[in-house]
Point group: C2
Chain length 426, copies 2
Amino acid sequence: MLSYLDMTPNQLIEEKNKVSAEYKRYVDMNLKLDISRGKPGAEQIKLSSQILDVLSSKEIYEYTNAEQIMNYGIVDGLPEVKKLFADMLGVDSDEIFVGGNASLSLMYDMIARAMQFGFADSKRAWGKEETIKWLCPAPGYDRHFAISELFGMQMINIPMLPTGPDMDMVEKLVAEDDTIKGIWCVPVYSNPQGITYSDETVKRFANLKPKAPDFKIFWDNAYCIHHLTDTPKTPLNLMSECKKAGTEDMAFMFASTSKISIAGSGIAAFAASKKNMDFLLKQISVQTIGYDKINQLRHIKYFGDINGVNAHMQKHKEILKPKFEKVLGILDKRLKPLNIASFNSPEGGYFISLDTLEGCAKRTVELCKGAGVNFTPAGATYPYGKDPYDKNIRIAPTMPTIDELETAIELMCVCVKLASLEKLTA
Amino acid sequence: MLSYLDMTPNQLIEEKNKVSAEYKRYVDMNLKLDISRGKPGAEQIKLSSQILDVLSSKEIYEYTNAEQIMNYGIVDGLPEVKKLFADMLGVDSDEIFVGGNASLSLMYDMIARAMQFGFADSKRAWGKEETIKWLCPAPGYDRHFAISELFGMQMINIPMLPTGPDMDMVEKLVAEDDTIKGIWCVPVYSNPQGITYSDETVKRFANLKPKAPDFKIFWDNAYCIHHLTDTPKTPLNLMSECKKAGTEDMAFMFASTSKISIAGSGIAAFAASKKNMDFLLKQISVQTIGYDKINQLRHIKYFGDINGVNAHMQKHKEILKPKFEKVLGILDKRLKPLNIASFNSPEGGYFISLDTLEGCAKRTVELCKGAGVNFTPAGATYPYGKDPYDKNIRIAPTMPTIDELETAIELMCVCVKLASLEKLTA
């Protein structure tokens, strides 16, 4: 195959006619597929559906503290569950708070409380400041950016490098601007690029010298055990590095079982330093009488401990690996030789990130939609939904079946080609 | 028995010596009882423990939409569950939002969002106002007041009458002060007095003419079906009355199954007008990807519908009625003839409210604690924990066994007597 970049104008026009006809055939198929969200597939959810069977009314009363578990209270979560998340995040149990079914809500709440009350090290509530700025490594997770946008933060794009966020830029910005209060991070298998932060990046995070006394790193470890290979990356632990540097009050870590057990009915947790935890528990004790401890116990009964969870993740890997391979195989075959797209080959996580030629992402997604296949809107991976180069597309291979994926990605390749040809012949 | 108020000084001193000796006998018993919180008792929780058995991994897949239920999404709750709460609160299903396991969190969130964003009818976010004032019918629920206090609201005490809050005062205050943004209400079997608002009170609420355009009634219907008699009160419905008056944007209603199914693992909901719901859903969709729908479905599978719930509440009544009768019997026998305390005889809800002589509540609770029995701290039923008369004590009869209750209330009567005698002989 000839690279599009090497084609003559006539060759490009000829190719465009060919690809247009190909696209039309897809339109005529009346497809209806949605691969827009990073939801687990049905097969994955089925993996842990027996979690619904492990805690009967008979079995719960085998616990001596059954009545405590079933009644109100224990606001920070059951000790066994705190231990599970402590092991998952590499912190101590007393640094863990266990919440409801969504770590996203824990992040939202953390920001909402900061806006209202500030943190222990804040001069005042963030909402009382003229301006709150937030660093957003991009491409990144659209729901993170949506929280920042809702709270009226000024989001600053930070380029992603193969080692994680551009730390030169992060260090410089936080050192000189005390209105910068935090940063979103997905340190392991980042959303959408699948980048795992290097040890040096983690160290540089732990050793940041922010001008704001209450600068916070939101370390969303959503994919910390969501490996696609047998040789998983084990990056340095942020909290440990922060403790060495005496900066542990800067770090909040988040995790959940949403992509481990049943997606909508998992449990979530955050980790925080003792000082932060003491400060937060006073507010959280007003906010709730405690989260659902029976669902917490259900997870312990089903998984046992972190080893049980890790063993279970192997089963997810077996389901997900062929899906990722399917997508990458098609992209390799259809797009690589044409020099019109680049994409990563992730070792874990939930996404494949594809970069088209500049200015072609929106048009590609629009063309896909025109043929009945929904992708994540182009731009969604950037703050305010604005990709400055209009080139990034997030592919979420987990939810569709392999057959659906094959159709969707084959179509997508046609659309990338067509959008590229439109640009090159314009 | 001679009323303390009719005793001569010498009789009082003699009685005090007698009661002191009685108190000492209790201290020597080394009791350790906690009747401070309105938690359901073990027997009540056991009533619905089989809710854990109704939704096995096999059974969930009998639902055609099982995968949707198990995955992320459906932020406002399953339709069947919305219908259940709609029937419970007397509103339409599309006026219902179903949350997690605690209505308290839904109320906290509602205030938190108002502080940050305001409501559709707000001029600006409440947090941008100099002052936010809040009406607090008192005695009332300490956790309501704790939310207002945390958010820095100025709380205004509203006296409770047998018909509900003093509506003359409520009407006057809201009409003249636009910094008054809302009111806490427990309209049925109020906490702690067990007062059910009269129809006239409900109508007057619906017809309030607040100066603040975004004044909100927080209608915490925590005990709407928690009857202790066979002839339950059925007060007018606030939302219906508001619709008649065109004021439905003023009303938020809250309920949960916390005191119906398993206390710590129930489901909660709020009701709001269409305008409010549309406004709120935009924010809530950033806050969460949806609450635990499996636990929602579990409730539907166990209870069926509102009729199933009402039938189940009969069983709670059978457990609770003897407890309330035990407390009231002791109070009647020990305190009534002495003219040193008054108390209500509730027809539902979770509490008995006892008024000592002025200035004796704190001392009574302190004496109880000295003998190993914890009551709700005196003052807790008032904003800022400050009972202006130091006379109200909240008795929570639900959690202890009948035997524990008997001991605790007998002791309490001794303590009320002793505190009264200390006052009368001072």
